[in-house]
């Protein structure tokens, strides 16, 4: 028996329709889960590799493992062994295992300066054998920001200690320099006072002496003006006379030039004659000299010619 008359056409086969809807929904959910699993690598074959860390600091399960910037696996487990060391297992996609060699190194680094921690795998030496699944790699911590800060701190602190000691040592150069500077500044103050005094005196002297000097200059300028006026009056006649003299000079020079021009054509001949006469005179003198030299060595003249003196010129005990 039915409670309600199932007379509406839309309610016909209602059970079948609901069952179809549920089935489609289940298929959709399943497909979504499958797709997500594929994307997450749940269905990718993975191979475990191991490393030992001195501490678990910075390491966490699920931490990505990267190779050349690509994620190729993740940190699976962290366990503390009986020696207090941390045994770590990472799962690496099996297809990438062939890229790694036996001496591959896994480093804990940061993504960026302050980013999340990442395990970065390096390839290792090319000549070595390919890393097998379950192999062990060496672990190291890359110098992150903390490490850099620690290093800087380790370097800065001794310097600061030294500086502190230097500044507090009364015999240190810095303290001595500061002391000298203080003394110098005190002396400078005294010097400045004396300079002020000198400048004050100079100012007073200038006021006392510059006034008469300026008055004297004014008088001199007036005199110069008077002299200039006088020159203006007297100079034109003088210049006129100078012009006349220059004209006379020009006429005289013209006359001399004419005379020279008349004489010049005769000059080469005269010079030639003079040169010839001098040459002959020189020859005659040379001949005479030779003759005299010759005669002076012969009798009877040689007795009257002083003998060539090869002794030092005279100098007595009282010179």
């Amino acid at each position: 028996m039915t409670l309600l008359a199932d007379k509406d056409e839309r309610f016909k086969n209602l059970f079948g329709k609901a069952a179809l809807f549920v089935l489609l929904a289940a298929i959709g959910i399943g497909a979504t889960l499958l797709w997500t699993g594929i994307k997450k690598g749940a269905f990718t074959a993975k191979s475990p590799i191991y490393f030992v860390a001195d501490s678990g600091q910075g390491l966490s399960e699920g931490m990505p493992v990267k190779y050349s910037g690509f994620k190729i696996g993740k940190l699976n487990t962290l366990t503390l062994d009986e020696h207090g060391q941390v045994q770590v297992e990472v799962g690496v996609e099996s297809k990438y295992l062939k890229l790694l060699r036996e001496d591959a190194v896994i480093s804990l680094t940061k993504e960026g300066v302050i980013g999340d921690g990442v395990l970065e795998l390096s390839r290792g030496t090319e000549a070595k054998a390919v890393l097998a699944a379950g192999g062990v790699v060496r672990f190291e911590r890359a110098n992150g920001l903390e490490q850099a800060v620690i290093e800087v701190k380790n370097r800065i602190l001794p310097i600061l200690d030294d500086l502190h000691q230097t500044l507090h040592d009364p015999q240190s150069d810095v303290r001595q320099t500061l002391k000298n500077l203080r003394e110098f500044s005190v002396e400078m103050r005294g010097t400045r006072e004396r300079l002020d005094h000198v400048l004050g005196n100079m100012d007073a002297n200038l006021n006392n002496e510059m006034g008469p000097l300026l008055r004297s200059l004014r008088v001199s300028a007036t005199n110069a003006e008077t002299l200039s006026a006088k020159l203006d009056h007297d100079l034109p006649p003088l210049l006129k006379r100078a012009d006349d003299s220059m004209e006379n000079l020009r006429i005289t020079s013209q006359a001399v030039k004419d005379a020279v021009q008349k004489t010049v054509p005769q000059m080469p001949g005269m010079l030639g004659e003079a040169r010839e006469t001098m040459g002959k005179t020189r020859e005659v003198l040379g001949d005479s000299q030779e003759m005299m030299d010759s005669l002076s060595t012969h009798w009877p003249f040689k007795n009257n010619v002083p003998v060539s003196d090869n002794t030092p010129i005279k100098m007595d005990s009282h010179d």
């Binding site: 060595t297 012969h298 060539s308 090869n310 030092p312 010129i313 007595d316 005990s317 009282h318």
Partner: protein
Amino acid sequence: MTKAILFILLGMLASCGSTPPRLPQAMEQAQVADKEARRALRSGDLLRAQHDFAKTLQLQQSFDDLAGAATTIINLATVAHQLHDDEGALIWLDKVLLENAEIYPEESRLAANFRKAVITANLGRLPEAEASLAEAIKMCDKKCSLHFGIDGLQARLLLLKGDSQGAITLALTVSKEAEAGQDEQANALRTVATAEEKLSRYAEALQHYKSTLEIDKVLSLGIRIAEDLSGMARVSKQLGRDQEAIAYSRRAKLANESLRQNNIP
């Protein structure tokens, strides 16, 4: 016979007239330069003489005439001394004296030592003068031509050192030697007179100054005449003959002025 004698005479005359062989050119030039230098010196042109002697020296050195070069170096020193460049003169003399290889003749080294002694004595550098004179005495050995000059200088050095009596004794010996020559005799007498003046024997000093003046006048040595007259003026004053002293002093002044105005060395 007459023809033969005439022929022989002509032959002799021709041989007399033959030209003697000429010297090499450099040697002839050196002789000419030396003659020119000596002529310039006689005429009082000391700078010209210096130039010509320097030229002579270069030529003599070019043909390795060491004796001639030594003489010319000594001449250059003497000219420098006459130009009142005594340091220059000593440098020239040292070129002969400090030559390690002793290439210059001993006679030249003797002359250089003597002249160095004279110049250093004039400069008042008595130890140097004595050292140079000692070297000269060692080389001279009482036989050389500078013997009397050396004795005269030795007497002068004794006087400069204060040994007036020793100076008189030695200088008197030189003054009596005719071979010493008039100039060295006059020098010796002047030394005697100066020493006597120092010993306050003014009358004797005046007599010796007068004798010296006579010789210096014969030799026309202006500067020494002035020196003698000055000495005579000093001792005359000491003898109380003031008028004579004034006259001698005036004559000395005139002689000195004339020397200075005419630039006579």
